[in-house]
Symmetry: C2
Subunit: 337 residues, 2 copies
């Protein structure tokens, strides 16, 4: 195993993927803090909009490791962490390098600018994966360079760009991902497949989606609720039922969820006006939606059973990230073109 | 992400799994070398019998990182690395900790004892996963403690024991693993599934096996060679064809491989006398061999196609390791009981 800049960046990438989709409308970002010639002080990710950016979370952890100052542990809001670090750092970061999957923001929004914070802490070097082309937040590298930091760009750029892609898509137009659960032998039928942890993760993703797309037949057979009840204050997304036949038994639970719009249509263009779209699906939906999918998200349970699996198309996917979570595997993929 | 002893050990475990099966008759072992409060100097694994043990490989890499002494790079035999480190270390390891998945050996075999080497280099602390119960090699901890090292045992013990299990089994009796290739949707038919890299990996595994078990129907339909031609000097294992009907077309290539014994029997007890046994299989073989399997090895290609998959049994597996290799995923699993 080679321990180099790519290794440190890969830790940041890996951590960030765990929160892909959950940071909406913010990007998934990870950050590794390294001291001297290679001591890893912290690896953190941005977890949810409104919570600290990855750099702030990582600097907080690194500060505690460097100083053992327990006061910082209970400080959770981003602006308070900024303020506390600026006041108390006492040059403890002087031999520190940062690895961030995305150029630090220059934007003062829900949190103060990360680029300004990093510039003020005596950090010498920052390694960046993707550059920020978001109008509001870009300009971070400029701030960093102006204050004398050494900035090195394009570290594992392709991997960081893959991590950032959903954000780029939903800020421009929309991000569409196809999510399914299956067993090791590919089956998607025959009762509950995923672990409880995976199902909670799916509900957390739904909570951040504004539209959920599902096939009419699945609705008729499974009679689902399609809400986000497994997470606190989970918000149920609108639903597009893709179906030629417009008649449904209105006692199917998904129709009774509060503050939800249900669209029944055979036209995927009804996804327009939505930003973060999850398609939950069967083999048929996998085929039908093929041309509008940006990413695939598979929850794979290491079990063997069931009888029906995806069989209708020949397709080659590229694995973007694999994560072992409780008993399942969570895989993000895109079509390999 | 928590950066602690478990993190450093997990890097060693991950690296070691890449060579699981390939180290036969030696165990798969990994080692991480860390300086001071957490600078990772090296993560290495034992790769093949006769080549340096994980600790020696890791100390070699760490020595180069610490001293920049290029002379060590071309030294590849274990005894020469031992000798060179002993002569030239000049206390460069004095702030170094080791993390080894297995207690360092006390045995002077193809390589000198790792425990003696580690004791002589001024290393202060060693973290150990599994303890060595192999009669020939055990006693390493004793040597280390006697020379004043701080030894901490049972770091990620369960994970390290899972890594070591095949070795324990083939030294006691035999290790049997079921290997198959499938697509994401579970299919195992319809032409070549795995990438060329995965196929080379399978041939490298075959080269280390003494017996390969396969179903009679697969032999009749696929007409395989079942050798290890994709690796240099690859040795083809003996073959047990599990079949009630004993008649086969002897022009099927597997029968013409030099220095190979082919057994045709419907009795798995013919595996007796073999140590490292790979079952290559279909859905039927997966079911038939269920009770003699120790581990499962799945090569999963992120493609969708084919039509037949494993469907005949309800089984729950536990994932021991996932490795992304070229375009495929390589998963080691065991039955979850």
């Amino acid at each position: 195993m080679v321990i180099n800049n790519n290794f440190y960046m890969s830790l940041a990438i890996k951590e960030a993927w765990r929160y892909q989709g959950l940071t909406y409308p913010n990007p998934a970002v990870g950050c590794t803090v390294v001291r001297g010639s290679g001591e890893i002080l912290a690896v953190e990710a941005h977890k949810r909009a409104g919570e600290p950016h990855a750099e702030v979370a990582a600097l907080k952890s690194a500060y505690f490791k460097l100083t053992n100052d327990k006061n910082i542990i209970d400080i959770t809001t981003s602006s308070e962490i900024h303020f506390y670090l600026l006041k108390n750092h006492k040059n403890c970061f002087d031999k520190v390098s940062l690895y961030t999957t995305l150029e630090p923001c220059a934007h003062i929004g829900k949190t103060p600018s990360c680029a300004t914070l990093i510039s003020s802490l005596g950090i010498k070097t920052i390694f960046v994966g993707s550059n920020d082309t978001n109008e509001e937040a870009s300009g971070g590298n400029g701030i960093l360079k102006k204050s004398g930091l050494h900035v090195e760009n394009n570290i594992l750029k392709e991997e960081c760009d893959n991590l950032l892609k959903p954000f780029k898509l939903w800020t421009q137009k929309s991000f569409v991902f196809f999510k399914w659960a299956q067993r090791l032998n590919g089956t998607t039928d025959g009762g509950i497949i995923s672990s409880q942890e995976s199902r909670i993760n799916v509900h957390a993703m739904r909570d951040k989606c504004d539209l959920l797309v599902i096939g009419g037949n699945t609705v008729r057979v499974d009679r689902p609720t399609l809400d986000a009840r497994l997470v606190n204050d989970g918000k149920a997304p609108d639903v597009l039922i893709v179906s030629r036949c417009k008649e449904f038994d209105m006692s199917i639970p998904l129709f009774s969820v509060q503050n939800r719009k249900v669209i029944i249509s055979d036209d995927f263009s009804r996804c327009r006006n939505y930003k973060n779209i999850m398609i939950e699906g069967s083999s048929k939906m996998f085929e039908l939606s093929r041309n509008i999918i940006d990413y695939y998200l598979c929850y794979l349970a290491p079990t063997v059973g069931g009888s029906n699996s995806f069989t209708e198309i020949d397709d080659k996917l590229e694995i973007l990230n694999i994560q072992e979570e409780a008993q399942d595997i969570i895989m993000w993929m895109k079509r390999d073109v």
